[in-house]
Symmetry: C3
Amino acid sequence: MTDLHRTIEDFLFDYAECLDDRRYQDWPDFFDPIECRYEVLSRENADLGLPAPIMSCYSHGMLVDRVTMLVKKTLTYRPMYLRHQITNLRVRPGSAATITARANLTVLQSDVEGVSSLYMVGRYEDEILITAGQPKLRRKSVILDSFGVDTMLAVPL
Amino acid sequence: MTDLHRTIEDFLFDYAECLDDRRYQDWPDFFDPIECRYEVLSRENADLGLPAPIMSCYSHGMLVDRVTMLVKKTLTYRPMYLRHQITNLRVRPGSAATITARANLTVLQSDVEGVSSLYMVGRYEDEILITAGQPKLRRKSVILDSFGVDTMLAVPL
Amino acid sequence: MTDLHRTIEDFLFDYAECLDDRRYQDWPDFFDPIECRYEVLSRENADLGLPAPIMSCYSHGMLVDRVTMLVKKTLTYRPMYLRHQITNLRVRPGSAATITARANLTVLQSDVEGVSSLYMVGRYEDEILITAGQPKLRRKSVILDSFGVDTMLAVPL
């Protein structure tokens, strides 16, 4: 692995592309199959050190369940295009074998009439494990500056 | 060229700066003089594999024509400042000697009263040729999530 | 210093995180203690080569003064979360020992009700000095595309 920062960057951009392209069935593959956690927190709680997430999946099976309804289109939600803009990436050594990645995130939505607007603003705080050169998410925390958007939890962020 | 990713990144950021600074006369120079294509597509069409662009220039001369009216200020359009935010860049080997670059794009506009708003959201899908260390666009496809903005095609994206 | 671009990028992202986290007391530390300047200009003036800033601090003591009221919470301003998105970074050798960094900047704000909106759009033009491996700002010029937001100068950008 010659450039860890580039490897992590590429991994997160692939993650974003998966979601932007609505390939939700591929989303769990970005997580470590043995041990993983996906959680969405409000910034207010995160800043106060309050760990209660708005939602969380704490096993790989829960991630698969999470997107099954999206893949099968049994969940009804307003159709829209999303686009992730990941910036300000910092990569740091984490505890044990993991790497900590922190980045700012804006997601823009565009509706079927082609009108674009701000969908969410926040940041990622990720713990990433690299096994045989392949990064996998041990934990992804999505910390929301914006909330109150009732559709925000319909799809993974 | 020790770092291809950095070279491509720099090239795209120079491209964006050229447009943000409204140096439209320099815009065709980013394209390969022998063979090039600039096209704007809707995401809906691109996702369905429908190749019909909203607009396209398929020769270097057409690119020059495209901006002549902007340079000479014979085209009347609402004055505004634009700012490109290019993120999530992925660089991949393309066919033959070309490189494929894909990135997310948000353009913000600010009017003469200083009010900023979202101008367009979409992505770039570029084919880039590097000749004697200098990247040139063989093809730039701008794929719009947002559309219906009637001024959107007045200037290159 | 193996990768200057990465060093500068990291430095600017740390700068943004300091502001996003509202650690205003740490903000002056990003500037060179001997000689430094922080200024906010309108794009219109900057493009015309008119040097008059909207506001400026031209010594380290002025920077400290600038944030003292924020740290002590004696300045009353509408509480909100800010998030900096720094993109399109270009790093170039500057005059003498300095490095020139130019980047595009969007700041998103989220209010206490969790509603997000565009706070400001513009660019950074920085002169950075690296002493003993540590970057410090010799000058930071924040050039605003957007203005007229009356709260925009309440906090550093």
